[in-house]
Subunit: 314 residues, 2 copies
């Protein structure tokens, strides 16, 4: 369903703060706080959340309680929980925990792929195929989602060729990916690049291309979302308070802020099901749990415009 | 000239920091610093600047040296200097100083117009006509530019009807406006509103509609610029370091940051003539001159992406 403007009428915002937001922080948020986060986010209307990552706990102690979060998420009706998995072992755990979706990061940058997973992109494709085989052999319902990271450039390698992104998307789908997202992991994208790359991938991926993941590192997060909306994308990752900054850019903002994205979409008459007051109340809790960490996002400072408050009063 | 993307190939960024940026600050930047600002901005490639406002000095002591700045600007070849004028008396001064352009703010919000100028929008239209008559009688070359403020909503009145904006643009042109800009004075616009309002005004104003003025109060400044670019607009106001916040929203960001806008456009292969290193060096000076004031903008924190540095090295 689209508006007269050609934009989607409804958009899903997947909250990824519990994974992408927390993984680079030097602290561990207690499990009890994370459970409260999930409940409050659910109460605020969020129906998709990335809860953590199944990597060895010594690598990411911040995310070591991912199984507990998944177990809780499964008690909340209609909540789709995804987890990041870097390999078959992680995928096995995701399937054991009956995650709705397991997200495999596939770096379009060769250099980033080697640095992050010690594997080439094509070796990651082979892993996807093995995960698909294991999943199908078990009759698991966990969906295989592939996030093409560094799709718009990379801090190590610099330029990433769109043709390489297209090639990898095709290979990932052939290997078993049921959903594809394009991620601007390091905040290099601009709206022209976004529109162009999504439109290049759409003929190959079709409806499987269903997620945009934008970091606001250089202030273009919302413009990039708008460009992806124009390409027909209707699902976006975001972090409350814009956490998830890049370790290579101290103080730089992270993912697009959930509350700002929800505000922009609401202003554009695109439904997201999010309750602003509840989001901002959860944000205040997150500010306590992450005391001292830089938070981002404009709505929390500026508040809703009077025009939107008028609409609600009517 | 447009790209294949349909976007303009070249964009003018008018630096408005010396007017919109400084006018709400509780301090006065010394004239010598402002002259250095103008020179450095010029050296960074800026060719349009709004330098101040011809209002009574007791109302805006921060801008009381506007005549001196104009005199200096006229020594810099190719620099187009504009000044804000609220009335005929201000326009007389702008013409005496041979400003290239005088900008009349015309609030689309009736409430804002009364609060800001103690006149209704239609009374301001009458002033524009008197200014045009005076200008033509003198044979002055100072261009009459009208900025429709609160075009996307108002903190006092809330909603502003697009039909009222269209009516006022038509009346302003009939009264003598040679250039029209649409301003999101309080940061209420979203990309759909921007695209829609610019497209509604274009049939009436044609090429005269040549400026977008967006505040980043709620984080949508760049997305709104992108929407206006898609409507064919190729001239934007901006403030270095994103100064110019709203007095009603403490801590909220101001105008779109010049350096971020220049970065987005450069990344999109749209020419602006701006030199990033020079802009960022001037930003550091501004940070000293405005010591303690909140600055905004993402590029200064995150730096240029490696992809753009690669291009420059080639």
């Amino acid at each position: 369903m689209t508006h007269l403007s050609g934009l989607p009428r409804q958009v899903v915002i997947r909250e990824v703060g519990l994974r992408d937001g927390l993984q680079i922080l030097p602290r561990t948020v207690p499990t009890a706080a994370k459970l409260e986060w999930i409940r409050d986010a659910y109460d605020a209307g969020q129906r998709e959340m990335e809860l953590g990552s199944f990597v060895p706990a010594h690598l990411l102690p911040q995310l070591a309680d991912t199984d507990k979060l998944l177990a809780y998420a499964k008690t909340l009706p209609g909540l789709k929980a995804s987890v990041l998995v870097p390999n078959l072992k992680g995928a096995e755990r995701a399937m054991e925990c009956e995650a709705d979706s397991m997200l495999l990061p596939l770096s379009a940058s060769h250099a980033h792929s080697l640095a992050n997973l010690r594997k080439t992109p094509d070796q990651v494709i082979e892993i996807i195929a093995r995960i698909r085989d294991a999943r199908d052999a078990q009759g698991s319902h966990t969906r295989i989602e592939v996030g093409i990271s560094t799709a718009f450039g990379c801090t190590l390698q610099g330029r990433v060729e769109p043709a390489e992104v297209v090639r990898l998307v095709k290979a990932a789908i052939d290997a078993g990916a049921e959903a594809i997202g394009l991620a601007d992991t390091v905040g290099y994208a601009d709206p022209t690049m976004v529109r162009s790359l999504f439109e290049a991938v759409l003929p190959i991926a079709g409806d499987k291309l269903n997620c945009g993941h934008f970091h606001d590192t250089r202030g273009l997060g919302m413009a990039n979302v708008y460009a992806a909306l124009q390409a027909g994308i209707s699902r976006f990752d975001a972090c409350l308070a814009g956490i998830g900054g890049c370790p290579h850019a101290p103080g730089a903002s992270g993912n697009v802020a959930t509350e700002d994205l929800a505000y922009m979409l609401a202003s554009m008459n695109i439904e997201t099901g999010q309750d602003f007051n509840a989001l901002l109340a959860l944000r205040r809790k997150i500010a306590r749990w992450l005391d001292g960490e830089p938070l981002h996002g404009a709505l929390a400072r500026a508040g809703l415009p009077k025009t939107m408050l008028q609409e609600r009063a009517e």
